[in-house]
Amino acid sequence: MKIFVTDGTAAAFFSAVFDAYREKECIITSDSRVQLAFDSEIVRITSNREKNERVQNAASKCDRHAVDDVILTLRSGDPSKEQTAFEYLKKLLEIKSPISKMLSLPQVIEFNETARKVTGEVHMLKGLLRFMESREGVLYAPYSPDNDITDLLMPHFAERFKSERFVIHDVKRKLAGMYDGHEWLTGYAGEAEVYLSEYEQAFKNLWKKYYNSVNIKERPHIKQMKGYMPVRYWKFLPEKNGN
C-alpha cells in the first residue's frame, strides 16, 4: 500500500490527491510519524501546480464550495485530516454533485465533524483569547490552539480593534498574525519578548477580582465549566493560570 506524505500545505495535499486518486488503497498524510505496515511504500509529495489545479477544478465543478471546505478541514490538528478530506473528495468526484448535505454518508459525517471542530475552536477563541498591553501600547495574545486558526481569527479582531495594533501569536506553530491599525498579515514568529505596560497587572487583578466575585460559590458546577472551557486553554487565561 502506498502512503503519500505531504508537507502539510493544501497545495501539496491537492497534488497528492491527483496521484492517489487512481490507487486502489492508499493513505494521504502529513504526519511523518505515520505507522507503517510491512508492505507500505512511502511516496513524498511536493506540490505541483498543474496537478493541484486539475484536482481543484474537478472538485469545483462538482461543488463550488468544495475547495474552500477542504482547505478549512486541512486546518485541523487531527493527524488523519488529509485522509478525511481525501475520502470526501473521492466521494464527491464519484457522485459528481454537491454532497455536503448528504448527512448520512460516513465520509460526509467525518468531514463535517472535522471542519466543525475547526470552526468551533475559532468561535471559542474569539472569546478565550487574552490580550496584554505592552509598553508601546501593542496588544499581544499568545495562545496554542488545537487547529491552525490564526488567520481565521485575524479578521474578527482587526474589525473589532480597528485602531489598535495587535499580535496574535500561535506559540505551538510559531506563527503570528500582526495588525498595524490598517491591515493584517501572518508570518513566522519564534519567541516574543514583551515588556508590559505599567497598568497591565492592575487590570489583570481587577479582572481576577471580577471573575471571583461574579461566581456564585454556593452552586459549584466545575464539570460544566470545564466542558465549556477545556483545561488546555487555561494556560493563557489570567483568571485561571494564577499570574
Binding site: K101, G127, E133, F161, S213, V214, I216, K217, R219, M229
Partner: protein
C-alpha cells in the same frame, strides 16, 4: 482606576441577574472606534458555577431609597455601599474589552436619589461610552421603573438591549412583595420601547436602530403562588405583545425572613422545566395550551415535550423518512439540530436506524416515537415506554446537579432592578 473592593461590592449586587447573553446585535465599528457586536454572541469565560461571562455585570450604585423586604440592598440593610462615576465605568469597560475579557457591559443600578436621577446617570454613562470613548461593543441596560420616558428613550438609542424585570408573575404578588413597582411602571416603558423598535423595523431604519437586540425580562418563580400554567401564559403574552427576545426565570430562595415570603425555596427543577417549556414555545412551534393547563404545574418527572408526547400517543410513531419537520420537532429527544440533519439527509436516501445512530442523533427517547423505513425499535407497551423515558431522564437529573441544595444557595432574588 477603581479599587478592587468597590468592584466587588457592585458585582456582588449584579451577579444574580440571569441575563448574560451578548447575541442579537451586529452593531458595526466606526472609524477610530473600538468594538462591534457579534450576532451569535460570544462567551469570554466560565465561572466555577458553570455560568458564562460575556458581559461585565455592574451596578452603578447599590445605595437604594427603597426598603423592599426581600432585597439584600434595601435601605435598612447593613451592607457596604459604593457608587461609580461614568468615567470609572467607561475606563473599566474599555480596558477589559481591549484585553478581550468581555463582550460588553451590563449596567444596572439600585435607585439612589430618585428614579429620574438614577436613569439619567445610567444614560450619561452609556452616552460617554459611545461618544467619548467611541465604544461600539454590546451594552445591556436595565430600565429603572418610574423614570422619565424621555431619558429612557434616549438611552435606548444607544444601548443594544434593555430590560425591565417583571419580578413577579402577577399583579397581586407585585403589590404584596414589591409595592414600589407597579405593573404599569414595568409594562408601560416596555410597551413604549417595543413601539419604537417596531417603528424602526417598519421604516427600515438601518443605522442607529433602537435596541437592536431587543428587550428581555426576568421573574422570580416560587415566591408567590402562581402556577406554571399562569407563568407560561404570561410568558407567551410577553413574547407576542411585547416582542421580548427572552424571558428569564430565577427560582426563589428564602434568605430574608418575612411573613410575606414562603419559607421554602422553589427548587431548581421547576426553573429548569419552565425553561424547557419556554424553548418549546419559542423554537418548536408549541402553544402554551398544549404544554400546560392554566392552573396546573409542569410534570417534575418528564420534560414538557415528553409529557406532551405521552398524552398524545395516538400521533406516534412517526416515520422518520416522511414526517414533516413540525412533527419531527415534536418527537422527544429530537431537537432542532437533529431535525434539520434528518430533513437534509433524507432528501438523498431513505434513512434507517443505523444511519440515525451514525448521524449522532440521540435515540434513547426518540426510538419509542419513530419508525425507520417502517421498522419500530421502541417498546410496545405504554407503561414500558413511560418507564424507559423516566430512566432516560436520569441524565437530566445529573445535569441539574449544577444546583446544589437550595438551602445553601444564596439569594437568587433580584433585589436590584
Amino acid at each position: 482606576m477603581i479599587d478592587e473592593d468597590k468592584l466587588e461590592i457592585l458585582v456582588e449586587g449584579a451577579k444574580y441577574d440571569v441575563s448574560c447573553s451578548s447575541s442579537g446585535s451586529r452593531r458595526a465599528n466606526v472609524k477610530g472606534g473600538i468594538g462591534n457586536g457579534s450576532g451569535s454572541g460570544i462567551c469570554h469565560s466560565f465561572t466555577p458555577d458553570g455560568r458564562c461571562i460575556s458581559l461585565l455585570k455592574l451596578l452603578m450604585s447599590n445605595e437604594c431609597i427603597y426598603d423592599c423586604e426581600y432585597c439584600p440592598n434595601r435601605r435598612s440593610a447593613d451592607v457596604r455601599r459604593a457608587r461609580l462615576t461614568p468615567d470609572e465605568v467607561c475606563e473599566l469597560v474599555i480596558n477589559f474589552y481591549k484585553r478581550n475579557y468581555i463582550e460588553g457591559l451590563f449596567l444596572s443600578s439600585a435607585v439612589f436619589d430618585s428614579p429620574d436621577k438614577t436613569m439619567e446617570l445610567l444614560y450619561e454613562t452609556v452616552l460617554k461610552l459611545r461618544k467619548v470613548y467611541s465604544f461600539n461593543g454590546y451594552i445591556h441596560l436595565k430600565g429603572i421603573p418610574h423614570a422619565d420616558s424621555a431619558i429612557v428613550m434616549k438611552a435606548a438609542r444607544l444601548a443594544d438591549r434593555m430590560s425591565y424585570n417583571i419580578e413577579l408573575p402577577s399583579e397581586q404578588s407585585l403589590k404584596l412583595l414589591a409595592p414600589q413597582k407597579t405593573k404599569q411602571s414595568l409594562l408601560l416603558p416596555m410597551k413604549g420601547l417595543n413601539e419604537a423598535i417596531e417603528y424602526d423595523k417598519q421604516n427600515k431604519v438601518r443605522h442607529g436602530k433602537v435596541l437592536p437586540a431587543g428587550q428581555t425580562t426576568q421573574m422570580i418563580i416560587g415566591a408567590s403562588p402562581e402556577s406554571d400554567g399562569q407563568i407560561l401564559r404570561l410568558t407567551e403574552a410577553l413574547y407576542n405583545n411585547m416582542k421580548l427576545k427572552r424571558v428569564y426565570y430565577s427560582s426563589y430562595v428564602p434568605v430574608v425572613q418575612s411573613n410575606k415570603l414562603p419559607t421554602v425555596g422553589a427548587g431548581l427543577l421547576r426553573e429548569h422545566r419552565l425553561y424547557q417549556a419556554d424553548w418549546l414555545i419559542r423554537f418548536y412551534g408549541f402553544n402554551v395550551s398544549e404544554i400546560c393547563e392554566e392552573g396546573e404545574n409542569l410534570s417534575p418527572e418528564y420534560d414538557p415535550k415528553c409529557a406532551w408526547a405521552l398524552r398524545h400517543m395516538q400521533l406516534f410513531p412517526v416515520e422518520i423518512n416522511t414526517a414533516p419537520l413540525e412533527m419531527l420537532l415534536r418527537v422527544p429527544g429530537i431537537g432542532a439540530k437533529s431535525a434539520y440533519r434528518i430533513t437534509e439527509a433524507r432528501r438523498f436516501c431513505a434513512l434507517d436506524f443505523d444511519n440515525l445512530a451514525k448521524m449522532r442523533i440521540v435515540l434513547k427517547r426518540a426510538k419509542h416515537f419513530i419508525t425507520c423505513k417502517g421498522k419500530f425499535y421502541g417498546s410496545d407497551s405504554y407503561s414500558q415506554i413511560k418507564c424507559a423515558l423516566l430512566l432516560a431522564s436520569g441524565g437530566a437529573n445529573e445535569q441539574l446537579s449544577m444546583f446544589s441544595e437550595t438551602s445553601t444557595a444564596v439569594s437568587a432574588l433580584t433585589g436590584e432592578l
